[in-house]
Subunit: 416 residues, 2 copies
């Protein structure tokens, strides 16, 4: 049973408690340090866990791991130091802390035999830190990312015709931008993320202020259109590129060829392209902010602390039933080769109607030496109903080849 | 210093030794077990390390970690068991072993306090295992992947007009398909991968033969075209979908909407979409096979064993110089607002020519109340040269607003 102390209980802290309440992880929260004991909290926050004495909490003997969700350098840095010095592992979502003080804190953790994990500090639930680390041994020579969701959202809205100020306001309304969006808009947030990723992927330690950073405040709508006319998407990009002993680093509004996966990253999404000698291009895309995405990454680090020692697994032998294919409701594309087209179509439509399967599209093409191929798109129906209808076609000896049936995967939609 | 024993020295084993020879990891290879001592080997394989007695190697007292690269169940399973029982950590690239015997082997590892890592077993260097694990705490409800590079390559070639048999042969010639491609073409390889990912992401243990699997042998070229006409790409998809206590699992040629990122995964690439309550959609794409990609994942696991205990970091304080922005050679898109268009264009072209910057495109649009905006696309040149040319324009008082300059990122290309 891992015993956890939370520092900070804003949206991310509440998200962590929310996810924990849904999970069956062998993990118990010993205390939650907050600045204001009397502020109203979500029901998932047990009032008896709250304390306004974080330094006492992080050195409590019944705590194994400290989760730092305060943000900023002060007092987060002192608390993380105190926790490591007290022999606790630390999980943090604090990007500024890791970008500015990462080396010193990692050294402290090593000297104490503790671990400092920070997947949540960059791109929230999109596991770019783990990916960067996994590819490090392959010789990473380029990172190219869209690392700030606020900027990407604003530029996406501007590309769709909105003015800069209106787009920023909309981002704020929708929760993608802070009340003071300066850190995002200026590109400094993306620069901090780039610095962390460069260390993880390339093993190079660079201070966040060692390279020029340009934000999106100067971008005009017409610039986005002009870029598109020339075949490019205008994005706030963060790029690190290693050439032998030289390293290029930049964060700025740059142009990406329209066909490239990075150009297709829209709205508040983040993405990262990692290029290495060992694996070529690896591309990741996902949400880069938000309470639950960030909380998911925090829990991933807690899980790693639990499984890292090889003492547990998340795998639960749950009593789930595997759905037989015949019960899967879906639309399907059929390809049916027939000799007698008219009789086949009549039989097919009769049988589909009898099986309660609607017919959304039907076309027929002659095929040299093989009669006719029918292309049929069905409505949503259980596979078994369709199989029955097709069996009747076969029984009537109407098919000249086995029917091919392709299920339409409903990606990006909720229903099944 | 981590002491490693390799089991197997085919293309992946050689790749591991190759990457190790290029890296400065604190890691030493104690022995390499092979079936045939007298077979010719790459220069990176030191002959004095070779042995044909794998069981002796895995229990050697000067070995910390055993890397299993033999493949298949026999003798790989016995060797991995022997290694764990001898107190060694194990890293394996063996998909069949993890899919078929993963639970028992993980239980053995836990009982001995050892770790069993297998990032390389699924999608090689694309870190899908780490991603699946990182998102597990967020409540993963769907996995949808293109997990077999051979099938995706064959279907991509067929979509471009090639016959099935020719496409398979080409895949073999290009090294994407085995001499006997049955395991790939039948869909069973993808099913094994799906089973591993379902355990990592959903915590559910499913035997690989618990659900129906359909390969691509029946797919006709016309089916691909008909699917496209209806707005879908036909891919070998592997899908797991959880609905409460019900689990759908399928591997089959299925249809993906053309606009979806999975539909744009072409040639031998693999991809995985992970959907969770916590993070929404996370998408990964990369190479899923090959010697160096697989070796990169093996090294990632070795690195994790080294860093997991918090005792080391890959970060090297290398003496790299950060390239000043002015030295970065690139094409750039300029947006220049001017009042006197003709004089501005003349000055600009003169200055660019003097600075050695070629002009690939120039257009001018009138802007209400703001004169004219020039859109300029330059050839590749150092930023400083361009800055000088633009400074002259400003000095001549020709600009009515700050010039916006956007660097074209050369993604997908090698040169800079």
């Amino acid at each position: 049973m891992l015993r956890v102390a939370l520092l900070g209980c804003g949206t991310v802290g509440t998200g962590v408690l929310e996810l924990l309440s849904r999970s069956s992880l062998p993990l118990v929260v010993r205390g939650v340090a907050v600045a204001h004991l009397d502020r109203p909290r979500a029901p998932v926050v047990s009032p008896e866990l709250l304390t306004d004495r974080p330094f006492e909490l992080v050195s409590q003997s019944d705590v194994d791991v400290v989760v730092e969700l305060i943000g900023g350098l002060d007092p987060a840095e002192s608390l993380v130091r105190a926790a490591l010095e007290a022999g606790k592992d630390v999980v943090t979502a604090n990007k500024a802390l890791i970008a500015e003080r990462g080396e010193a804190l990692l050294a402290l953790a090593r000297s104490r035999g503790r671990r400092l994990l920070y997947e949540a500090s960059v791109c929230a639930g999109t596991p770019v830190i783990r990916a960067a680390r996994a590819l490090a041994a392959g010789g990473v020579w380029r990172l190219a990312g869209i690392l700030n969701g606020t900027c990407n959202y604003v530029l996406s809205r501007m590309a769709a015709g909105m003015e800069f100020d209106d787009a920023v306001r909309l981002a704020q309304q929708r929760g993608f931008a802070e009340a003071d969006p300066t850190l995002d808009i200026s590109g400094r947030d993306a620069a901090q993320k780039l610095v962390v990723l460069v260390r993880e992927a390339m093993g190079l330690v660079v201070p966040p202020d060692a390279f020029a950073v340009e934000g999106i405040a100067q971008v005009r709508r017409g610039d986005l259109l002009a870029a598109r006319e020339q075949g490019y998407a205008l994005k706030l990009v963060a790029v690190a590129r290693r050439d032998g002993e030289k390293l290029q680093l930049r964060v700025h509004p740059g142009l990406i060829p329209l066909g490239h996966p990075l150009a297709q990253v829209e709205e508040e999404l983040n993405a990262l392209l990692i290029e290495s000698d060992g694996t070529g291009e690896v591309f990741l895309r996902g949400r880069g902010a938000g309470a639950l995405p960030t909380a998911t990454a925090v829990l991933a680090d807690l899980l790693e602390l639990m499984t890292g020692a090889g003492t547990m697994t998340l795998a639960t032998p749950a009593r789930l039933s595997i759905v037989p294919h015949g019960e899967v409701r879906a639309r399907r594309l059929l390809r049916i080769e027939v000799a007698d087209e008219l009789r086949a179509v009549r039989t097919l439509t009769d049988q589909l109607a009898a099986a309660g399967v609607s017919l959304d599209h039907l076309s027929a093409y002659p095929v040299p030496d093989r009669g006719t191929v029918l292309t049929v798109l069905t409505g949503r129906a259980p596979g078994a109903n369709l199989a029955n209808a097709l069996a009747a076609l076969v029984r009537a000896d109407l098919c000249t080849a086995p029917v091919r049936s392709y299920l339409l995967e409903e990606l990006g939609e909720e229903g099944t």
